[in-house]
């Protein structure tokens, strides 16, 4: 009934013409909202968990919605009779819960995450547009078919959603979005195969992308060399700027946000004095919670490579 609040005219007509109590409907709606809220919180709890995460959550959510509607669809008389009404109710609330603890939370999130920053808003908007046409379809279609037919039509959308998720959706749970950007630079240069980083780790690709061989160029060691090369270029550029505007303390402050990417340890490494390797991780831990240099992985990476790179020089 909530949908009717969208259309003021309709809303007034429904209220004024309704011979039955609106409060009955509205109280059930409140129960349904509380069930949904439980679903939202369950989603928040598990969406970053690598054992469950976004993709699995969306698939399971679609599957349960499919089941919750396909079961009464083929036994409609029983489920709408007094004997079956409690099971019907249970299925309905289950579908509400798993709709939130599933596609309704996840579609919103992944439609942004799987794209690089430059087009994130556009791609998210495009997905939302297609998505809302689904809402339009439902609202129009349901005016033309009776309730029993609705139950026969709707479940298959859940099944289709599960399949599409399974085949085409990559899992961005735990992925550093900066890697998405790095990969995008290689794609824009027309050399996607030269990117070897974590964004094309099979775990972060869709099944479709794995089939088409996107993940073939994943190579952590080569990626680390590329990171060091890029960081060195960035560092040299910055040193040049620094040398140009020496003793200009204010411009250094303005650049503070950029400085975060090049930590003290990285600077030392490029200057030719890598810090003692055994200390680097401990040092990070002691600092723990400090927001000044929050990239322990990258720091330790550079230290490790500092050791392996030396013989080559």
């Amino acid at each position: 009934m909530l949908i009717l609040t969208w259309l003021p005219g309709q809303f007034i007509r429904v209220i004024s013409d309704n011979p039955k109590s609106l409060l009955t409907t509205w109280n059930w709606n409140l129960v349904n909202i509380v069930v949904s809220l439980a679903g939202y919180y369950a989603a928040a709890l598990l969406i970053d968990n690598k054992m469950y995460g976004r993709k699995m959550m969306q698939q399971v959510g679609f599957l349960v919605c499919f089941l919750a509607f396909v079961i009464p669809a083929f036994n409609y008389e029983y489920y709408t009779s007094p004997a079956g009404i409690h099971s019907f109710q249970a299925l309905y609330f289950l579908s509400s819960f798993f709709n939130q603890f599933g596609p309704n939370s996840v579609t919103f999130l992944v439609a942004g995450e799987v794209y690089p920053t430059q087009v994130r808003a556009s791609a998210h908007g495009f997905s939302a547009m297609v998505g809302k046409s689904g809402a339009l379809l439902a609202s129009v279609l349901y005016n033309y078919i009776d309730t029993k037919t609705k139950f026969l039509v709707v479940p298959w959308f859940g099944l289709a959603g599960m399949l599409v998720t399974w085949i085409w959706l990559p899992d961005t749970t735990g992925l550093d979005l900066k890697e998405q950007e790095r990969r995008w630079q290689y794609i824009l240069k027309g050399k996607p195969e030269e990117y070897h980083g974590i964004a094309i780790h099979p775990q972060h690709l869709s099944m479709w992308e794995r089939w088409t061989g996107v993940g073939k160029s994943y190579h952590p060691a080569l990626d680390m060399k590329a990171i060091i090369r890029d960081l060195r270029a960035e560092w040299e550029e910055r040193e040049a700027i620094r040398a140009g505007s020496d003793a200009d303390a204010e411009s250094a402050n303005l650049d503070q946000d950029d400085e975060e990417e090049i930590t003290e340890d990285i600077r030392n490494y490029f200057h030719g004095h890598p810090p003692p390797a055994s200390n680097s991780l401990k040092g990070e831990k002691l600092k723990g919670g400090g927001s000044a240099s929050e990239s322990p992985e990258r720091t330790s990476d550079s230290t490790d490579l500092g050791i392996s790179e030396k013989p080559a020089n």
Partner: protein
């Protein structure tokens, strides 16, 4: 925290939770919307305790006030976004600078369609299928309520759960 700090550990481990916790405010919004609607109907449909027949007056005031209340929040949000969020596009500007782009990045958009076609298909049709469900679900509710109401009357041994089931004489 600035809007664009994307490479931190915090972001990787809790990004989804943060977005979802913001998104779930939709749920609280629905919750309070429903309570406000109920209270307003009881207030404006005078002397009936919210039961029919409903007057035109009650319907008008119920829906107008229920829309006016969230409008306050929306206006505040517009103000906040326009004047208080200074670094909202910081990360985008950085990415554009790196790729030597001024204005809208048309090339990136085109490349998205050619290179990330599968992802676009997944995120858009996934959303589509979900919305058929989400809004369909809302529409089913009327049928479902009818059925359970029917149950409340046919099975008199079951006590009504809600006080509103008890009609005023």
């Amino acid at each position: 925290m600035s809007a664009g700090k994307l490479s931190t550990r915090e972001d990787r481990l809790h990004r989804g939770r943060k977005v979802t916790l913001a998104f779930l405010m939709q749920g609280w919004g629905q919750f309070f919307n429903q309570i406000v609607l109920t209270v307003l109907l009881v207030i404006f449909n005078r002397g009936t305790g919210g039961e029919p027949p409903y007057t035109e007056f009650a319907a008008q005031y119920t829906f107008r006030i229920s829309f006016a209340i969230p409008a306050i929040g929306t206006l505040w949000l517009v103000y906040y976004r326009a004047f208080k969020m200074k670094s909202a596009s910081k990360q985008l500007d950085k990415a554009k600078k790196k790729a030597n782009v001024t204005g809208y990045d048309v090339k990136s958009l085109k490349t998205t369609f050619s290179h990330f076609g599968g992802r676009l298909f997944a995120t858009s049709t996934g959303w589509f299928f979900n919305d058929v469900f989400f809004y369909g679900n809302k529409l089913f509710q009327s049928k479902f309520t009818e059925a359970s109401e029917l149950h409340a009357y046919t099975n008199m041994a079951t006590r009504p759960i809600y006080p509103c089931h008890i009609r005023q004489p």
